[in-house]
């Protein structure tokens, strides 16, 4: 989800929280404090890149963006999630033909 949030544009930590909250229409909420250690790990792994951005009259903030390997990882994860969610969806809402076949 963090990678997906960064796919459209580089964001800082709170920006990521807002993006996920906004896109999920408030259903999903990140454990905000847990976000930063994860971002640091992703940075050390080379999945994301962090650049400090200076702000006038405020402390600098770190803006994260996806690296090439991060983008590849996102595509892979997205594919996995799609397959999983489709499978779960099919269990809850079986296709008509299958439902008739079983009946």
């Amino acid at each position: 989800m963090i990678l997906a949030a960064l796919a459209e544009a580089p964001l800082h930590g709170y920006g990521i929280v807002r993006a996920i909250r906004g896109r999920s229409e408030g259903i999903l909420k990140l454990g905000e404090g847990q976000l930063y250690p994860i971002l640091h790990r992703l940075e050390e792994e080379g999945t994301v890149r962090g650049d400090w951005e200076m702000q006038e009259g405020k402390p600098p903030r770190k803006v994260y963006s996806l690296t090439q390997s991060g983008s590849a990882k996102l595509v892979k994860r997205h594919r996995e999630w799609k397959a999983f969610s489709e499978a779960v969806g099919n269990v809850f809402e079986p296709k008509k033909s299958e439902a008739q076949g079983n009946a």
Binding site: H12, G13, Y14, V17, G26, I27, L28, K29, L30, G31, E32, G33, Q34, Y36, P37, I38, H40, R41, E44, E45, K58, P59, P60, R61, K62
Partner: protein, 359 residues
């Protein structure tokens, strides 16, 4: 007015002291809390409420600190990599043991033994650097200090340390390395008279005189004295162990040298095996007779003893340090791996908080 944000940051800073990249975490937390508070202010909340809500959303500082401290083992790849390192540590002694068993570098065993730990150490340091497993550095440091003290103590006093417990043999053997060198030197510098005596015994044995083999390698054990056992404990076994390297039964030899990857427990096993072989009587003597050439070779070595030079001395001490580091560090590393792996799972479980049921 009570400044909750500032209080939170001070508390966080206190708890994050010494944690990797704590400065960055604090700065990012500060920016985060300020932005969230501003957003809530814009929505009409008063400052105190907004500040408290921002902190509540950010979460317990203890959870963040735990996460920051244990974040080095989160990914599956890192877990697999770390497991491989631990596995390599476990088997690192095996090649050295086999090399020694088959007689490679017989009088350079220190170098052989160094190979495994050296590879393991390089790999460990690589993973420590790659995944920032700082706890592992601490564990290695503690283990290294203990082993260094033990080795230096052994070197200074020539007395093996007797530490009760399962690791006793290994600990004693390695801490006694310099003492073993002394025994070896003493043995290799045996007087001409002693060597002549052994040669005579061998001659008698070859001639088939009753009791000659027994006198040479049997119950009297001419290679080391009870006094040496008293003085040097298991360290004294190094010498007779070398002498009994050429056991006729290859499986016992393998068992002796590979039994327990930490090496020296093999000598303990060997000691028991010697006692058992003595009881076997004829079978034992027959085995030794079959390896007459080896016994002759040993005596030839006695006549022309190899040098125990500085490099070998250094290697023995280094071997003691490395092996004890691994011996003591390994359980800590394993515990570290388990704790971090569990931590990773817990953290993943806590990452998502369902605000309301989707159903």
């Amino acid at each position: 007015m009570l400044d909750y944000t500032n209080w939170y940051l001070v508390e966080l800073e206190r708890r994050l002291r010494g944690v990797h990249r704590s400065d960055e975490l604090i700065t990012e937390t500060k920016v985060h809390l300020e932005e969230r508070t501003d957003e809530l202010l814009r929505k009409g909340f008063d400052r105190i409420t907004a500040s408290r809500m921002a902190i509540a959303d950010f979460g317990d500082p203890a959870a963040l600190v735990w996460s920051a401290k244990h974040r080095a083992f989160p990914s599956r790849n890192a877990a697999i990599g770390w497991s491989i390192v631990v596995g390599l540590l476990l088997v690192s002694w095996m090649p050295a043991s086999f090399m020694q068993t088959f007689g490679l570098g017989r009088y350079e065993e220190a170098v052989n033994y160094l190979l495994g730990p050296f590879i393991a150490l390089v790999l460990t340091l690589f993973f420590v650097a790659r995944y920032r497993v700082w706890f592992a550095v601490w564990a290695m440091g503690v283990a290294l200090s203990v082993s260094l003290v033990a080795t230096l103590f052994g070197a200074a006093t020539g007395t093996p340390l007797n530490v009760p417990g399962s690791g006793q043999t290994t600990f004693v053997a390695y801490s006694a390395m310099p003492a073993q060198l002394k025994v070896r030197e003493r043995w290799l510098n045996k007087s001409e008279g002693e060597i002549a005596n052994l040669t005579a015994l061998l001659k008698n044995a070859k001639a088939g005189k009753p009791g000659a083999w027994d006198a040479l390698v049997g119950p009297k054990e001419p290679y080391f004295s009870p006094a040496q056992y008293e003085r040097y404990g298991y360290g004294a076994q190094i010498l007779p162990s070398d002498m009994s390297e050429r056991w006729p039964n290859i499986w016992i030899r393998l068992g002796a040298t590979t039994f327990g990857p930490w090496g020296m427990s093999g000598y303990y096993f060997r000691h028991d095996a010697i006692a058992a072989w003595k009881k076997l009587g004829d079978a034992y003597l027959a085995g030794v007779r079959a390896h007459q050439a080896d016994v002759e070779e040993e005596i030839a070595i006695l006549r022309n003893p190899p040098e125990v030079g500085f490099v070998n001395r250094f290697a023995f001490v280094a071997m003691g340090i490395f092996s004890l580091t691994l011996m003591l560090g390994l359980p800590m590393l394993l515990m570290n791996a388990i704790v971090l792996a569990i931590g990773g799972l817990i953290r993943r479980g806590r990452l998502l908080v369902w605000r309301k049921s989707i159903a």
